[in-house]
Amino acid sequence: MRDIFFDLSVRSVRLNFLRSLLASIGIVIGVVAISSMGMLGTNMQLMVKDQLTTGINTIAITPDVVRAEPGTSVSSNTGITDIQLREIRDAAGINEVIPIDRTNTQFSIGSNDGRGSIYGLDPADIKNIMNVSEGSTIRGESDAIVGATIANRFNLLIGTRIKIGEPNISVTRPVVRVVGILSSVGLSSTNGINSDNAIIVSDTWYSNQFGGENVYDQVNVNLKDVSTLSAVEDAIDKKVNRNKQVVRISDSSSRITSVSSTLSSLTTFILAIGSISLLVAATSIFNVMMMSVSERVQEIGILLSIGTEKGEIRRMFLYEAFILGIIGAIIGGIMSIIIGYSVVSAMIGNTAYFFLPESIVYIPAGMFIGMIVCIVSGLYPAWRASNLDPIDALRNE
């Protein structure tokens, strides 16, 4: 059975349809603001975190900054030696160990000069840690694959030749041929290889040109299971740094924490901005409810004089606020999906995270908050209606 007070509220809303609709629009805007802002922040957070965590299973081992003892000279050999590499392999166990050579140098493509990082990698490792979007991986001695940014900037195609090294009149610079182009990695280059801006060549070609055979600039350990991160780091540290600090072991977990917490404060901030619109909505609901009470003073007087309890009068007006809230929340919820999706796709350019629970939860949350705001706004008007003096109220024309 339907509550007669609910019926009365529905009829009152219908009677003042335009006014009620306008008040509900305030709630719609509030719900949409909260939901879309929340989803925008969360989607940003999820995307950045995901990009960062693609590299979280990598431990990067680099030579420690050498501090010379007073009176001794600093060794020019500041790389990771073959012996150290073997120790790392021992400590890393089943995990994949990838030695990396790296240098920064100039290169020329036709008449255009550029500067970037040259990485020397074992061709067998390349296909494990890099994603070639076009062409193939390195097969021949002078094959190279290039990062997305470089490829884009210099309009590189498969087969383009690149001269590597500082220009020197007396020496002919070595040439590599582009066989593959890597897909863009953006922020996820947490494994110490900023491949977007890199030219990657085979390790043998690299040591032929730049020397440094059996010495590496960096060693990456790719973990099979990310939960073993600190155990593997400890093992490597105990083995390689047993006498003194010779390598630095780092990972990106701390970076993720700090970036995530920054983004989370940002989300809170934009949510707070969204909430302001709900405050405005609360005012308009309050206003409409007060109008509804003052227009119906005589009716309230009749209801009270024929034996309606104060609580029943309160209930009638709270229902009215609830109806305005639920209309606003439902329209707001539907529009949040549309507007939220558009905002996320326009501002983040990636809607892959939109329908994840962490993101979509902002829609029911926004609707719920919108409804609560409505009911709270109706509390005082309802209280006022129920406390009218029936004699005075009846006299009101």
Binding site: M1, R2, I4, L8, R11, S12, L15, Q298, E299, G301, I302, L303, L304, S305, I306, G307, T308, E309, K310, E312, P390, I391, L394
Partner: protein
């Protein structure tokens, strides 16, 4: 009622404290009304009729003195008890009908039943009472603003009767009706009195007051003739 009157006013005064000074609307009134009486309350404007009706309708409490209705002291009741008494013991018929504009004729009559039993009427009582006051059943879905004055007053009487109250308070029930309709309404009230209701009627019209068996004349807040 074992000799105890249904309504007893014992030295009742009502004083309104206004900015312009105190106004004594009821001045030491003592009277009894027994169950089954048909009483007309008369008097010029400002004589205290409305104040008296508000006291009888338990919409207000006296400044001094005691009012007992159906054996209960009005002043010592809680707000909720007074509300329930208005709902169960008293039926109110107003000059301006005061139907609930958002409810249909039928729902207006059903409303007090819902207040009392907290559920919609399934017994057919609302419809039966509407029929008993001569309301055209075909119009029961109409809203008050679609009804004539006479029809509205019939609905209002049905609403007042539906919870089977002991007392029927009628505040100028014919005041907004043409003469012919007014007499029809009075015939209904006479019938209800015959069925045992205690009817208290406020009127200016001596012709209407003739229906009553007893007239209480008020002047300046005092009973001048009872």
């Amino acid at each position: 009622m074992n000799g105890t009157p249904l309504i007893r006013f014992a030295d009742v005064s009502k004083v309104y404290h206004l900015e312009s000074g105190d106004v004594t609307a009821l001045n030491h009134i003592s009277l009894d009304i027994s169950e089954g009486e048909f009483v007309a309350l008369m008097g010029p404007s400002g004589s205290g009729k409305s104040t008296m009706m508000n006291q009888l309708g338990i919409l207000d409490v006296p400044s001094t003195g005691e009012i007992h209705i159906a054996g209960k002291n009005v002043a010592s009741m809680t707000n909720l008890e007074r509300t329930h008494m208005r709902r169960d013991v008293i039926g109110y018929v107003f000059q301006k009908f005061y139907l609930i504009p958002l409810l249909s004729a039928y729902e207006n009559v059903e409303y007090p039943l819902i207040l009392k039993y907290k559920k919609r009427d399934t017994t057919g009582r609302a419809a039966a009472v509407l029929k008993s006051v001569g309301f055209d059943e075909a119009m029961s879905a109409h809203r008050p603003n679609q009804l004539s004055g006479g029809q509205q007053q019939r609905v209002a009487i049905a609403r007042a009767l539906v919870n089977d109250p002991k007392i029927l308070l009628c505040d100028e029930p014919t005041g907004n009706l043409d003469r012919k309709t007014g007499f029809q309404i009075m015939d209904i009230l006479v019938g209800l009195h015959k069925e045992g209701k205690t009817v208290i009627l406020v009127t200016h019209d001596p012709k209407i007051a003739e229906y009553a068996h007893r007239t209480i004349q008020l002047e300046d807040g005092r009973v001048v003739e009872s």
